[in-house]
Amino acid sequence: MGSKIADWLDERLGWRSVWEAIFLRKIPKVNWLFTLGSATLFVAVNQAITGILLTLYYVPTPDHAYNSVQYITNEVAAGWLIRGLHHWGASAMVVLTVLHMLRVIFLGTYKYPREITWFTGVFLLIIVIGFGFTGYLLPWDQKAYWATTVGTKIASVTPGIGDWILRVMRGGPELSAVTLARFFGVHVWVLPSALMALSGLHLYLVIKIGISEMPGKDD
């Protein structure tokens, strides 16, 4: 029965070849360090699921942000868990992305024919950091407020255009409702779109080119 449905669907969707290409592809003999990318992907999915759930209650305005976060944490069933997963997942994202990158550097797998995989990966790291930076403000507590005050101020020391960058980031000279709204918009729309597009390409290339072998002594 199950396999009949699978056949029926396969005839129309061709899902088996996709499945095989993704999950049954041949890989060289490698070690556990090669799972860091998958681990990053797993945590990214965690961030997406818990992030979407958080927006059901979170309100990105100065008069509601803090209270809505407290409401999630203390009043909503499993709210502490969803928020906790998103909070710790955010740190795990940065750590895993960096470890994944280090593996690629040390095994030299950024070279031909994987340059595009590497560069999309570099942008993905920047996106992950952008997520961390914008997400940090959203609880709108003292730590969030001052961290963003300092973070945007750091950007303002850029020679020449520094002050302009600061104003664009804050949406004005001061941290305000405008800042919170735009950080939220960037965090839940701009960065996720960019992440999906780039990680789509990144994963396509991983599957298309295949993963590299462990380099030997004389490579």
């Binding site: 965690n46 409401y71 009043e75 499993a78 969803i82």
Partner: protein, 159 residues
């Protein structure tokens, strides 16, 4: 049927992967559902006696409108809400307190004195002065509050 099925390493790992994946899925799914439906499962707040105003304001034989403010906690917001209640008495001793919320789909009804009827503008419903449905789609009479009179003041039980 005593043919023993050999489970090789590959299919064991395959099954283990599905099992772990299922556990992770449940680990997300169950809390997620609890999280989503949580506000709907909260108990309504405790009922309390709400003061409407002086008994002497109630006109004999005509529904009289009382407006009062109550505090409601919704999510993380405490807000003042206006409660409009029609009080009717025929003898000055027994009082009926009716909600102004239409029992059809929740619009607000209004007493039209020259027609001697409550009128709901949403789907043209009419209620008699004691709250019975006279015309239109509402399925039941206007809801009533428990009322009490104390020291010349009227109170209703609500929350």
């Amino acid at each position: 049927m005593n043919e023993k099925k050999e489970i090789d390493r590959r299919s064991f790992l395959g099954m283990a992967t599905w099992a772990i994946g299922g556990l992770i899925g449940a680990g997300f799914g169950i809390p997620a559902i609890a999280y989503i439906i949580s506000p709907a499962t909260r108990k309504d707040e405790a009922q309390d006696w709400i003061r409407l105003g002086s008994v002497s304001k109630v006109e004999l034989g005509t529904p009289t409108l009382f407006k009062t403010k109550i505090e409601r906690q919704t999510g993380w917001i405490t807000k003042e809400e206006e409660l409009s209640i029609y009080v009717l008495t025929e003898n000055g001793r027994d009082f009926v307190a009716m909600s102004n919320i239409c029992t059809h789909l929740g619009c607000r009804v209004r007493w039209i004195s020259d027609q001697e009827q409550f009128f709901c503008p949403c789907h043209n419903a009419g209620f008699s002065k004691s709250g019975e449905v006279v015309s239109g789609p509402p399925p039941r009479p206007l809801d009533q509050y428990q009322v009490k009179e104390e020291d010349g003041q009227l109170y209703v039980l609500g929350g």
